[in-house]
């Protein structure tokens, strides 16, 4: 640099460079509302009353499905077109803490809507500590103390009066592949709960885990399903019967994170959305009557679910028979950078 201010620490890291912008504290924000994705369910039952052959009626709802997490919605006022940098102050830390991550960042007028997904419902709520460059901060101060730098165009790039971002830790972390490994169910019992091992990343030890805040948007997601069908036909009480039931259960998972200790960040998934569709039909006739067939075959979901209303999964491009984004796979499972700071710097 030909002029200006360049400050380095003992490790040679650049702390302040007046040529470049620095993030400053925009504010601490609590959520405006909290929500969950509604269960997406549908099903039809026809002529199964009194049918022979033990036609199954169990679990036509959401029994055995894993609990969903919560979505906290924040509205962050900030100037300009770039989103604020929002750090999560989690509700708790440690090996039993829920995982949390920013899942939606959307501009809404002059505010940014930030949605934080937390893998479990808690009485407390995550708090956001938000940062932006000085050009996007409209806060004012009457303080005349501190250090302020300008670039060659005369634009302020650092101003200690607005609490510059201090980041003791940064690194990268990758979500597990699938949220659930192993069997996804048996008969009418579903097993889609998150059981993937946590992915842990170590960082330089800090003094107090409960003071740490982290910036690490959720980008990875996974979707897994369990399908089951049964049918039977035969003779019962001088009547011929036939029944067929087919089901699909699914969960959509979002990656999220937690401060596991004073020196580790962990990643895993939480259940963001879930659904269940089924069709159960039967017929019976006298032993001499003709039997109506219910041979659904391999294309059952393409055929059956086209008859079921698309429910409220409003943001999916629903192909014929597809009532989940995708199945038994994952997306965006590449390393994501994170930054860790301390709430006490800004409280």
């Amino acid at each position: 640099m030909a002029h200006g201010l360049l400050v380095k620490n003992a490790s040679g890291d650049i702390l302040i460079d007046s040529d470049f912008s620095h993030y400053h504290f925009l504010g601490k924000h609590t959520h405006a509302s909290v929500t969950q994705v509604p269960d997406i369910t549908g099903g039809s039952t026809a002529n199964t009353g009194g049918i022979g052959g033990n036609s199954p009626d169990q679990n036509k709802g959401m029994q055995n499905m894993p609990a969903k997490g919560e979505i906290y919605i924040y509205s962050i006022p900030v100037n300009g077109t770039n989103p604020p940098l929002c750090f999560i102050k989690p509700t708790s830390t440690g090996s039993s803490a829920p995982f949390a991550g920013i899942v939606v960042t959307k501009q809404n007028g002059s505010n940014w809507e930030i949605r934080v997904f937390q893998s479990a419902v808690t009485s407390d709520s995550p708090v956001l500590y938000c940062f932006a460059p000085l050009s996007q901060i409209s806060n004012s101060t009457s303080s005349t103390h501190g250090l302020k730098t300008f670039n060659s165009s005369g634009v302020a790039t650092f101003d200690s009066r607005f609490k510059p971002l201090r980041a003791p830790v940064a690194g990268s972390i990758t979500a597990p592949t699938l949220a659930h490994t192993g069997s996804v169910g048996s008969s009418w019992n579903v097993s889609l709960g998150v059981n993937a091992s946590n992915v842990s990343t170590s960082f330089t030890n800090q003094s107090n885990a409960n003071d740490l805040i982290y910036y690490c948007p959720s980008i990875a997601h996974a979707c897994q399903k369990y399908e089951y069908e049964q049918s039977d036909s035969g003779f019962y009480s001088f009547r011929r019967f036939s029944w067929h039931r087919s089901d699909i259960w699914w969960c959509f998972y979002r990656s999220s994170f937690r401060i596991a200790s004073t020196s580790s960040l962990e990643a895993n998934y939480g259940v963001y959305a879930r659904g269940h569709f089924y069709r159960h039909e039967a017929a019976q006739s006298s032993v001499f009557g003709s039997l109506l067939g219910f041979l659904f075959g391999g294309a059952i979901f393409g055929t059956i679910f086209a008859l079921i209303s698309a429910s409220s999964f409003t943001n999916v491009s629903v192909d014929a028979g597809d009532y989940l984004p995708y199945s038994n796979s994952f997306r965006n499972r590449s390393a994501n950078s994170f930054i860790i700071s301390k709430a006490s710097f800004y409280d």
């Binding site: 400050v7 620490n9 003992a10 490790s11 040679g12 890291d13 650049i14 702390l15 302040i16 460079d17 470049f20 912008s21 993030y23 994705v37 770039n82 989103p83 940098l85 920013i102 939606v104 960042t105 959307k106 501009q107 997904f117 460059p133 303080s143 005349t144 103390h145 501190g146 250090l147 200690s160 009066r161 609490k163 510059p164 971002l165 201090r166 980041a167 003791p168 830790v169 940064a170 910036y215 690490c216 948007p217 980008i219 997601h221 979707c223 959509f252 979002r254 963001y272 959305a273 999964f313 943001n315 999916v316 984004p325 995708y326 997306r331 965006n332 590449s334 950078s337 994170f338 930054i339």
Partner: protein
Amino acid sequence: MSYGMEIFDADGDEIFSTTDSTWTLLGVYVTNANTSTNHTGVPVMPTRLVTRTMIDQISGDDEAYVHTFSLSGSTLTTTAPSGSDTIKTVFTVFGK
């Protein structure tokens, strides 16, 4: 501290010091949905960090790919994995 710099506010509370670590903002680069873009002119610092944020996903409950990227020299190469399901992505490049 025995050497370095400390900055205090008017109340005498430390706001920043050279014992801290932080990240300077080198640039914010936006790649639109379903497109691949090379962003040039990215400033170079000894250590850089790139974060990705998916933008304008309405509810976040659908299949959404985030752009992949590579940063080499002054070029940030961003690639859409899907031509139809890749979300608008903001890349924030930090340096120190």
